[in-house]
C-alpha cells in the first residue's frame, strides 16, 4: 500500500513545487478510449497505448483540479487508516467540502476514475471499493483471510458450505489460497451453479466452482485472477452460447474491458479458456435455440470489427462467424432439454476430455 501512498505524495509535491515557482501545475492522464487500446496475447489483457493527456490548471479546470486533489487526500487518509469507502460514501464525504463538494455522484465517480488512471492502480488500492458484490465460490478451495481485529489467520474451506457458498468480499487484495483442484469452472448463471453445487459436482470433477451471476464484478474478476495466477490453475468458462456471453462476459473476464483499460492489468484472467456453449455445441448437442436478435447481430459484428481481442484470434473470428451464419443462440440451461442432469453426466465430462481444444 505504501507504493500508492508514495505516488500520491510525489504527485502532490510536484504540483506544489510548480505553484511555488508561480507556474501552472498539470496532471497527466492516459486517454481512455477503445482507440487507445491494444491486445498483446503474450501479456494477456487489453492495455493502453499512446500518450497521455495533460490537465493544466486554468480557470476552466480549477474546480476539477481542486476536487481531484481533495479525492487524493481522502485516498491518502483511507490508506493510512486501513479503511475503505464505497464510491457513494466518497461522494457523501465530499458534502463537507463546501464549494468543492460534488453535486452528483457521476462527478465524483469520474474524478475517482481519473485518480485511478493517473496512478495506474486499481481503485481498491486507493481505498475505494465498488458498490456491488458478486461471485460465489464452492468446491476444492481454502481461502485464507484474517480476522480484522486480532489479525489471526482464518481458513475458509469452500467444501464445507453444503448447498450454500462462500461469497467473495468486495476487496480481495489480502486473500491467499490453498487448493489442489485441477481447474476452476466459472459459470454464468446462479441457477447452473446451484445445480452443480447441489450435486457436489466439484467433488466428482475435483474443481472449484465460481458463479459470476452475469457480467463478473471487479471483485469476482480480481479473485479469479489472483487465484488462477497464484495457484497456476486453469480457468474454464461456462456461459451462454450467444454474443453477450462471448463478447461481454467471457471477453471481459479474460482480457478486461475496453473503457477501463488502465486497470485491466489487475482485472483480467489471461488463463481463462472458453468451455462452452460454443456454436459447434449447438449443432453437436442439438440444443434448442432462439433466433439472434438485431442487438445480438450488432454486438457480434461489432466484436468482429472493433474488439482487439477477437480481432487477433482466428478461432474466435471463425466461431462468431459460424454463430452469425446459424442465426441462432443457445443458453447453457438449454442442455436441460436432454434431462436436468445431462450437463453433469454427459456434457461437462465430454467437454473436459478435450480441454485442449477450448476456444482461447
Amino acid at each position: 500500500m505504501t507504493k500508492t501512498l508514495k505516488k500520491i505524495e510525489e504527485s502532490a509535491s510536484t504540483i506544489h513545487n510548480k505553484i511555488t515557482k508561480k507556474q501552472k501545475p498539470s496532471m497527466y492522464f492516459p486517454i481512455r478510449a477503445l482507440s487507445n487500446v491494444k491486445y498483446i496475447p503474450k501479456r494477456g489483457f487489453l492495455e493502453l497505448i499512446g500518450q497521455k493527456k495533460a490537465r493544466t490548471l486554468t480557470v476552466n479546470t480549477v474546480k476539477t483540479f481542486a476536487q481531484t486533489l481533495r479525492v487524493m487526500s481522502l485516498s491518502k487518509e483511507l490508506i493510512e487508516k486501513d479503511d475503505i469507502a464505497t464510491k457513494r460514501e466518497a461522494y457523501y464525504v465530499s458534502k463537507n467540502w463546501d464549494d468543492a463538494r460534488f453535486e452528483e455522484q457521476p462527478e465524483s465517480d469520474t474524478v475517482i476514475d481519473d485518480v485511478e488512471a493517473m496512478f495506474e492502480v486499481n481503485r481498491e488500492q486507493l481505498g475505494f471499493i465498488p458498490e456491488e458484490k458478486g461471485g460465489d465460490v464452492a468446491g476444492k478451495l481454502v481461502v485464507i483471510d484474517k480476522d480484522q481485529e486480532t489479525g489471526k489467520q482464518l481458513k475458509i474451506d469452500c467444501t464445507k458450505f453444503g448447498s450454500g457458498a462462500y461469497s467473495i468480499p468486495i476487496s480481495t487484495e489480502h486473500l491467499k489460497f490453498e487448493t489442489n483442484a485441477k481447474f476452476v469452472l466459472v459459470i454464468e448463471t446462479a441457477g447452473m451453479f446451484q445445480r452443480l453445487v447441489k450435486h457436489n459436482y466439484w467433488k466428482k470433477a475435483n474443481c472449484i466452482l465460481i458463479s459470476m451471476g452475469g457480467v463478473p464484478t471487479r471483485a469476482c474478476r480480481r479473485f479469479i485472477r489472483r487465484l488462477s495466477e497464484g495457484k497456476k490453475i486453469p480457468v474454464y468458462v461456462f456461459v451462454d452460447g450467444d454474443p453477450y456471453g462471448i463478447s461481454n462476459i467471457y471477453r471481459t473476464l479474460k482480457v478486461g474491458s475496453g473503457n477501463a483499460a488502465h486497470i485491466n492489468q489487475y482485472f483480467c484472467v489471461p488463463n481463462a479458456r472458453y468451455l462452452g456453449i460454443t456454436p459447434q455445441d449447438i449443432i453437436d448437442y442439438k440444443l434448442p435455440t432462439h433466433p439472434l436478435k438485431d442487438v445480438d447481430i450488432k454486438r457480434a459484428k461489432d466484436a468482429l470489427k472493433n474488439d482487439p481481442f477477437i480481432k487477433q484470434s482466428k478461432e474466435w473470428q471463425k466461431a462468431i462467424n459460424q454463430l452469425l451464419k446459424m442465426g441462432v443462440r443457445a443458453e447453457q440451461q438449454a442442455l436441460a432439454k436432454h434431462g436436468l442432469n445431462y450437463v453433469i453426466e454427459k456434457y461437462l465430462p465430454q467437454k473436459l476430455k478435450k480441454a485442449d481444444s477450448f476456444l482461447p
Binding site: 500520491i8 505524495e9 502532490a12 509535491s13 504540483i15 506544489h16 505553484i19 511555488t20 508561480k22 507556474q23 501552472k24 490548471l57 486554468t58 480557470v59 476552466n60 480549477v62 474546480k63 483540479f65 481542486a66 476536487q67 486533489l69 481533495r70 487524493m72 487526500s73 491518502k76 487518509e77 467540502w97 463546501d98 464549494d99 468543492a100
Partner: protein, 531 residues
C-alpha cells in the same frame, strides 16, 4: 337489357333533351354573384375572419391612399356592437388621406374588380380592386345594411356622404343616399360597414392585427377603439414616409406567351422593335435587335401582324437573350432602421437587429425581403419563436404553415445562431421574427391573401436575410455568454483555489503559511491568465 323496372334505363333513341333545350339555360354570371357564393375565396369564411378581413381592407386602402398622397397617415379604427344583437358589429375606419372624388365613390365601394392598382406594376397593399367592395358586399349580405362612405378632398370643399349597396346581378353600385354632410376633418375618408361578425382576443384578433400593422408601418399613427369602448393608441415611431415606389413596365422574363401575343396585339408602337423597347422594362434597341434576330423576325414588322408561330419564336428568343434585371425602384422597403423602430415601439426586448436584402426577381417580378428580429426581454424563454409575416407591409395572420416565409424559417439552421430547433419546426427561444416581402406582385396562394407561394427565388432571399440576422443574433448571444462566463470564472477562482490549498496541505503536511502562499500564488496565476 331488362325493362322490368320502370326506370332510368334508356336506349339511345329515347332521350328527349336536345342541345336546344340545354342552350336555353345558358346565362352570364356576374363577378359579384360569383364571389357572393364563393366568399371564402376572399377571406370571409366565417364571422371571426370576416371582421378581420374587413378591417384589413379598410386599413390597407387608407394607408395606400395616404402614402400615394404623401401624407403621414393617422388612422382611426372603431368597432361597435350593434345594440340588442350578439353577432352584429359596426366597423368604422377613418383616415386623414387625400379623400376620394365624389364621382368615383360609388364604383370604388360598390363594384367588384374596380380599382387603380390592378393594371399597374407597382407595389401597393391592395392589388385587385376587390377588397373593400367585397367587405361591403359581405356586410350587405349578412345584415342587409348598405356601406356608408364620407369623404372630403380639401378643406375648401364640402364632404360627401354616400350610402351604397352592390347590385350583385349587374356588379354595379346602387346609390341609396347621396348628400353633403358636415365632416370633422379637413380632408380624409371614413367608411362604415355593418356586418355579422365575432370579435375575439389573441394573435389572430383585431388587436393583434393592428399591432402588427403598426410594427410594419412605423410612419402610421393608429388608434383603435374596441367594442368595450377601450381606446388603444399605436403612435407613430418615424416621421419618414416610405419612398414612393415607381410604376414599372413588365420585364420580358416574366411574360407568358399568351400575354406576349396580347401585348403585340394591343401595342401602340408601330413596329416590333419599338414595341419591345417601349412596352417592356430593360429592353434597349440593342437588346430588341438581338431578340428579333434570334427569333428570325424583322424589327420593323407590324406587331399586330405577328402570327402565333412567330410569337412563339419571339418568346423563345427572349428566353435566350441576356436581359438586365428589372429596375427595382418600384419597390419600397421599410428599411432596416424603421424596422427596428417599429419593433422597439411594441416590444421590450434586449436586442434588435434587421436586414434588408437587395432587390431580387422572380418570374420577372422584382421583390425585396426584409427581416427584423427581437431577442430576450419580455419575450418568453420557452416555446417556439413568434413569427410575424408581412406582404407589402400587410400582416399575414392565417395559413402560417402554407407560407414560403415559414418554410424558409424552418429550413434555416438556427442552431448555428445559438437557438434550439427540432427538425421540421421553427426554432424555440425568446425571439420575435418579422419577415417582410415587398413586391409589385405578391404571389399569394389564394385571394384571401394569407400565405405566399413557394418560389425558389423568394425562399432563397428569405433565408439569406434570416441568416444575416441570425449571425447578428449569434454575436449578441456569444457576447452575452462571454460576459456571463467572465463573471463565473472570477467567482470560480475564489471558490476553488482554497481547496487546492487544503488538499495539498493535507497530503504534504504543510503549515498554514505554506497553504496561504499556494492560494495567493494560484490566484495570481489565474487572474493573470483569465482573459
Amino acid at each position: 337489357m331488362t325493362t322490368s323496372k320502370k326506370s332510368k334505363k334508356l336506349t339511345e333513341t329515347e332521350h328527349k333533351i336536345t342541345a336546344h333545350d340545354l342552350a336555353k339555360k345558358q346565362r352570364e354570371i356576374s363577378v359579384s354573384e360569383f364571389f357572393t357564393k364563393n366568399r371564402h375565396l376572399l377571406g370571409f369564411d366565417n364571422p371571426r375572419k370576416a371582421l378581420l378581413t374587413t378591417i384589413k381592407e379598410g386599413i390597407d386602402n387608407s394607408l395606400d391612399a395616404c402614402e400615394e398622397a404623401k401624407i403621414l397617415p393617422d388612422i382611426k379604427v372603431r368597432i361597435n356592437q350593434v345594440k340588442n344583437t350578439e353577432d352584429r358589429f359596426r366597423v368604422t375606419i377613418e383616415d386623414n388621406g387625400p379623400g376620394i372624388l365624389k364621382s368615383h365613390i360609388p364604383k370604388i365601394f360598390g363594384k367588384l374588380l374596380y380599382g387603380s392598382k390592378f393594371h399597374r406594376l407597382k407595389m401597393s397593399r391592395g392589388q385587385q380592386g376587390i377588397g373593400i367592395s367585397a367587405a361591403g358586399m359581405y356586410g350587405q349580405l349578412t345584415t342587409g345594411k348598405p356601406i356608408l362612405i364620407t369623404s372630403r378632398i380639401s378643406p375648401k370643399q364640402p364632404a360627401h356622404h354616400y350610402s351604397l349597396v352592390v347590385d350583385t346581378q349587374k356588379n354595379e353600385p346602387r346609390i341609396i343616399k347621396d348628400e353633403i354632410v358636415d365632416f370633422d376633418s379637413k380632408r380624409g375618408t371614413k367608411v362604415v360597414i355593418e356586418l355579422e361578425a365575432r370579435c375575439q382576443k389573441g394573435r389572430q384578433s383585431v388587436d393583434g392585427y393592428i399591432e402588427q400593422t403598426s410594427i410594419a408601418n412605423p410612419h402610421a399613427d393608429i388608434t383603435y377603439i374596441n367594442p368595450e369602448d377601450k381606446e388603444t393608441r399605436y403612435p407613430r415611431a418615424s416621421k419618414e414616409l416610405p419612398v414612393e415606389p415607381k410604376e414599372i413596365k413588365p420585364h420580358p422574363y416574366g411574360i407568358e406567351l399568351g400575354i406576349l401575343i396580347k401585348m403585340l396585339h394591343d401595342t401602340k408602337s408601330k413596329n416590333l422593335r419599338a414595341c419591345l423597347t417601349n412596352d417592356f422594362s430593360r429592353v434597349s434597341t440593342r437588346v430588341a435587335n438581338e431578340i428579333c434576330e434570334k427569333a428570325g423576325l424583322h424589327g420593323k414588322s407590324r406587331p399586330s401582324r405577328i402570327a402565333v408561330q412567330e410569337a412563339d419564336a419571339l418568346f423563345k428568343a427572349i428566353k435566350l437573350t441576356k436581359i438586365m434585371n428589372p429596375p427595382t425602384d418600384c419597390i419600397s422597403p421599410i428599411g432596416e432602421e424603421s424596422i427596428i423602430k417599429g419593433l422597439k415601439k411594441q416590444i421590450n426586448a434586449d436586442f434588435f437587429t434587421s436586414n434588408t436584402r437587395p432587390p431580387s426577381v422572380y418570374r420577372g417580378n422584382p421583390f425585396q425581403i426584409e427581416v427584423g428580429l427581437a431577442y430576450g426581454g419580455v419575450l418568453p424563454e420557452e416555446g417556439l419563436i413568434r413569427l410575424l409575416r408581412f406582404a407589402n407591409r400587410v400582416p399575414l395572420l392565417y395559413q402560417q404553415s402554407a407560407c414560403v416565409i415559414t418554410e424558409s424559417a424552418i429550413n434555416t439552421s438556427w442552431r448555428n445562431y445559438g437557438l434550439q430547433q427540432s427538425s421540421g419546426a421553427l426554432p424555440s427561444g425568446p425571439v420575435l421574427l418579422m419577415v417582410h416581402l415587398a413586391s409589385v406582385w405578391v404571389p399569394f396562394t389564394s385571394e384571401s391573401k394569407e400565405a405566399i407561394a413557394h418560389y425558389p427565388e423568394i425562399e432563397k432571399e428569405v433565408k439569406l436575410a434570416l441568416q444575416e440576422c441570425g449571425r447578428h443574433l449569434s454575436t449578441f448571444i456569444k457576447r452575452k455568454k462571454k460576459a456571463a462566463d467572465e463573471f463565473k470564472k472570477k467567482s470560480y477562482i475564489k471558490k476553488y483555489i482554497p481547496h487546492i490549498g487544503i488538499a495539498l496541505k493535507e497530503i504534504l503536511d504543510l503549515n498554514e503559511k505554506q497553504e496561504l502562499k499556494i492560494v495567493n500564488n494560484l490566484t495570481d496565476i489565474l487572474e493573470r491568465s483569465r482573459s
